[in-house]
């Protein structure tokens, strides 16, 4: 992309000054999508509509309109309903589904002037950590051929990493934004539960689903959140909590900020090379005045077990609506992972097992949340790895669901506790990207951006 040197903010400035048109930017992105078809990042590309919208945007710009994303091309994960544009959830069950309305987040982005280039590939129903579970074929990592880009928001991360667009939306139920962000060298935000409306986003596990996005830079991530966040009468979990002016955090330095490193996240199981990279970043932050403290989140070891009870339980309930009558096709068209989760979820909720599994998991969830509450009395943010390993080869874990589930060990806790997490790139190991996550208390996204920006500036 010729325009890949621009941040969204810079692109907007140049569009405003008419250095070039939105149409040329959009066409350039569409070319990039076409040239990188082998990565399989998109399920649907809206070429004609996007060019039309770009022309409209150019007209509006000429007339003096000024919107934060006017003329900026973005992509949308195929879990978000887009009125009139096919939405599949990467499952053949919804192969011909054309939504009658758009998700609130999509509406807000469009109202801010963004231009939708298309719908990105992902693990079907957002079930997966690698992007391989898509009924439309796996997405590839743009950094190394035959490697996974991370999932479930695989195509979204790749579309931003490979300069096909300036931002993309994702969903994060157990790491589905942070993991692909870390595997593809981009910035991924999982906001606080309820910060962004879930309305019109195909539900996976309703008590865990977070609606976030990918960008190349931290300041862009803050800009997108300032547009998508806020109360929505169509989603009862969006609170009245004010949306902060996130840009104000970039004026603050990080001197005196207390950073916790949970010892449970840096013990056995974590690739040494990832650990070293994170420690280097932490030393840099310390050199800029941050205070580092080793903390403990004692219930970490139960997180995956807790998550893989609550998650399938809610999945089985949410996928019950796909009866092939009102939309979509018959239930035998679900892929293996959806079928596994439906069975597991139905089982843990079934009579005689509910107390032993689901109820117990909901209690453990309380303990995991309390771990974070205690930690945030001592520190402002927590720094942790995103994935215990580097991206793996396509096919490597395909027949071992448990091995795949264990990849989420460092990410599911934020969903269980409802807290926000920002994954920021910290360099490459053997040609493969590594990310690090910054976690904070509920609604502390501004603080995460502040620290994320400092990490970006480390240049390590």
């Amino acid at each position: 992309m010729n325009y890949s040197a621009y941040t969204i903010q810079e692109l907007r400035e140049s569009l405003k000054k008419k250095h070039f048109s939105s149409e040329s930017v959009v066409k350039d992105c569409l070319r990039e999508i076409e040239d990188n078809k082998n990565l399989n990042a998109f399920i649907t590309v809206c070429e004609k509509e996007a060019v039309e919208k770009a022309k409209e945007a150019d007209k509006k710009i000429k007339e003096g309109a000024d919107l934060p994303l006017l003329g900026v091309p973005i992509s949308i994960k195929d879990m978000y309903l887009t009125k009139g544009i096919r939405t599949t959830a990467a499952s053949k069950v919804l192969d011909d589904y054309i939504p009658q309305y758009s998700a609130t987040a999509v509406k807000k982005l469009e109202n801010a002037g963004a231009i939708i280039l298309g719908k990105t590939n992902c693990d079907a129903w957002a079930h997966g950590s690698s992007g391989e579970n898509s009924d439309y074929g796996p997405t590839e990592n743009p950094y190394l051929k035959d490697y996974v880009p991370g999932g479930s928001s695989s195509g979204s991360a790749v579309s931003v990493a490979a300069n096909m667009c300036f931002a993309s939306t994702g969903t994060d139920t157990g790491g589905s934004i942070r993991l692909p962000a870390s595997f593809c060298n981009v910035v991924g935000l999982k906001p606080t539960y309820g910060r962004v409306s879930r309305y019109g986003v195909i539900a996976m596990a309703s008590s865990l689903d977070s609606i976030g996005h990918f960008t190349r830079y931290v300041e862009e991530s803050a800009l997108i959140l300032s547009i998508t966040a806020g109360k929505d009468p169509y989603d009862g979990t969006t609170p009245n909590e004010k949306v902060e002016d996130y840009s104000s955090y970039f004026k603050k330095n990080i001197k005196g900020i207390r950073i916790g490193m949970p010892k449970e996240y840096f013990s056995k199981g974590l690739d040494k090379r990832i650990k070293e990279k994170i420690e280097k970043e932490v030393r840099y932050l310390e050199s800029r005045g941050a205070k580092i403290e080793i903390i403990s989140l004692p219930h970490t070891e139960y997180a995956i077990a807790c998550y893989y009870i609550i998650l399938p339980a809610e999945v089985s309930s949410n996928l019950a609506r796909y009866d092939g009558i009102r939309y979509g096709s018959a239930r035998q068209n679900f892929g293996d992972e959806a079928k596994r989760r439906i069975i597991l979820g139905t089982y843990v909720l079934s009579s005689g097992y509910y107390d032993a599994y689901y109820k117990k998991a909901m209690k453990i969830r309380t303990l995991i949340k309390k771990d974070f509450d205690e930690a945030f009395k001592k520190v402002d943010v927590i720094i942790a790895p995103v994935s215990p390993t580097l991206p793996w080869k396509i096919g490597e874990k395909a027949d071992d669901p448990l091995a795949m589930y264990l990849t989420d060990i460092y990410t599911v806790t934020a969903n269980l506790a409802g807290i926000p997490g920002l994954s920021v790139p910290i360099g490459l190991v053997d040609g493969l990207p590594v990310g690090m996550q910054i976690l904070g208390p509920h609604f502390s996204e501004g603080r995460l951006f502040q620290v994320g920006k400092a990490v970006e500036e480390s240049g390590l």
């Binding site: 008590s207 995956i304 077990a305 089982y347 909901m362 209690k363 453990i364 448990l402 506790a417």
Partner: protein, 91 residues
Amino acid sequence: MKIDVKHVAKLANLPLSGDEEEKFERQLASIIEYVEKLNETDVGNVEETSQITGLENVTREDHPKPSLSQDEALSNAKSKHNGLFKVKKVL
């Protein structure tokens, strides 16, 4: 611990082939074994968490609002009749 996949699939209205039943039974056994880990902790008096940011009883005024038209609502249905969804006989 094994899941009776055949029975559970029936509860979930999920048609499976014999091969699938066998495969899922094997794969899910290792997952069930793993989640049994939770039994190590004592959760006696701990309260369950379902709404993580602490919201309670969020309601709205019970007034009708604009919604999808009948045609729009039916636009994705494979089988319809006289402006209604057509389904197989239930009783």
